[in-house]
Amino acid sequence: MTRWMRFLPLWIFLAIVVVAYAMLSASSEGTRDTKAIGFSMTNAAVPDLTLPKFEGNGTITLQDYKGKAYAINIFASWCGPCKLEAASIDVMAEKLPVIGINYRDNPEDAALFLEQFGNPYADLARDDDGNYSIQLGVHGLPETFIIAPDGTILHHQQGPVFASDLNGKLGDAIKRALGS
């Protein structure tokens, strides 16, 4: 028996500790597998929400958008992929009005984010405790919904919107929502 083999239990124990630590570190980073849930709000009716405006004391009611095609985009300044999709949200906002919901954010940081990456939103609301986002079936950021005039969610994008999405399923949903 070689010298290192005599301490085999110790090596196994240390290996388990290293692997467990690596796994716990990975899970605490809040990363998510957008495919894991295997479920989306596509084809469901958009909930009738009244949200506080991002600035001031007013409210935004989704019911007011009934009869129009529109989109909802959930974002935050602390969300890296939200920065990546900013340019695509700009393009999307040229086609139909986009309601932005600022999720669990610091208002100053969110204002700075909008200054830096642009404000493409027709209406801007805030969701300080995540309650409104849960009503929409949101479980991570960013998420985008394309809503038909009758209130049906035609597409629920979990993850950032890229230029390729505007020519894919999301783009098709926009066309269907606009009736073209």
Partner: protein, 148 residues
């Protein structure tokens, strides 16, 4: 040799202590979240233990301190206080997140393989062990006769 034995014993003790620490539940729930009524609070805890934190690795929302889990815990408590039943709350979350939000997936046509697999494997395993042992040690006297 004694030194090696001592190191190995200490390692085993450390492993047991680590395993015990992993078994104790982490308390993600903050005092501000708790409901004043202990019966309603217990209902909220029971529900939270059944629901998956969707941004975590196989953790219930009761165990997780992720903001998403906190949001769901708050929603459950708000709904309980509003008089909603456990079934209503679970149905609401299943409508938004599917069956994946449940830590114990329900028995449906798409999950019956998942539920049946452990029993099928157990029966197969017991069958293989039984047949192998029977071949090695025939119990039946007529088998013994034949094997002579």
């Amino acid at each position: 040799m004694k030194r090696i034995a001592r190191v190995n014993i200490i390692t085993v003790i450390m492993a047991i202590m680590l395993a015990i620490s992993g078994l104790s539940p982490s308390l993600a729930l903050t005092p501000e979240e708790r409901l004043d009524d202990p019966r309603l609070e217990q209902r909220a805890r029971d529900l939270s233990l059944q629901l998956r934190c969707l941004v975590c690795q196989n953790q219930s929302i009761d165990d997780s301190d992720a903001p998403f889990a906190q949001d769901m815990r708050r929603l459950i408590r708000r709904d309980i206080e509003a008089g909603k039943s456990d079934d209503d709350i679970i149905a609401f979350l299943r409508q938004r997140y599917g069956d994946y939000v449940l830590l114990n997936p329900p028995l449906t046509s798409s999950t019956y393989v998942l539920w049946a697999a452990p029993f099928v494997i157990l029966v197969l395993g017991v069958g293989i062990v039984f047949l192998t042992r029977r071949k090695q040690h025939p119990q039946n006297p007529s088998d013994q006769e034949n094997s002579r």
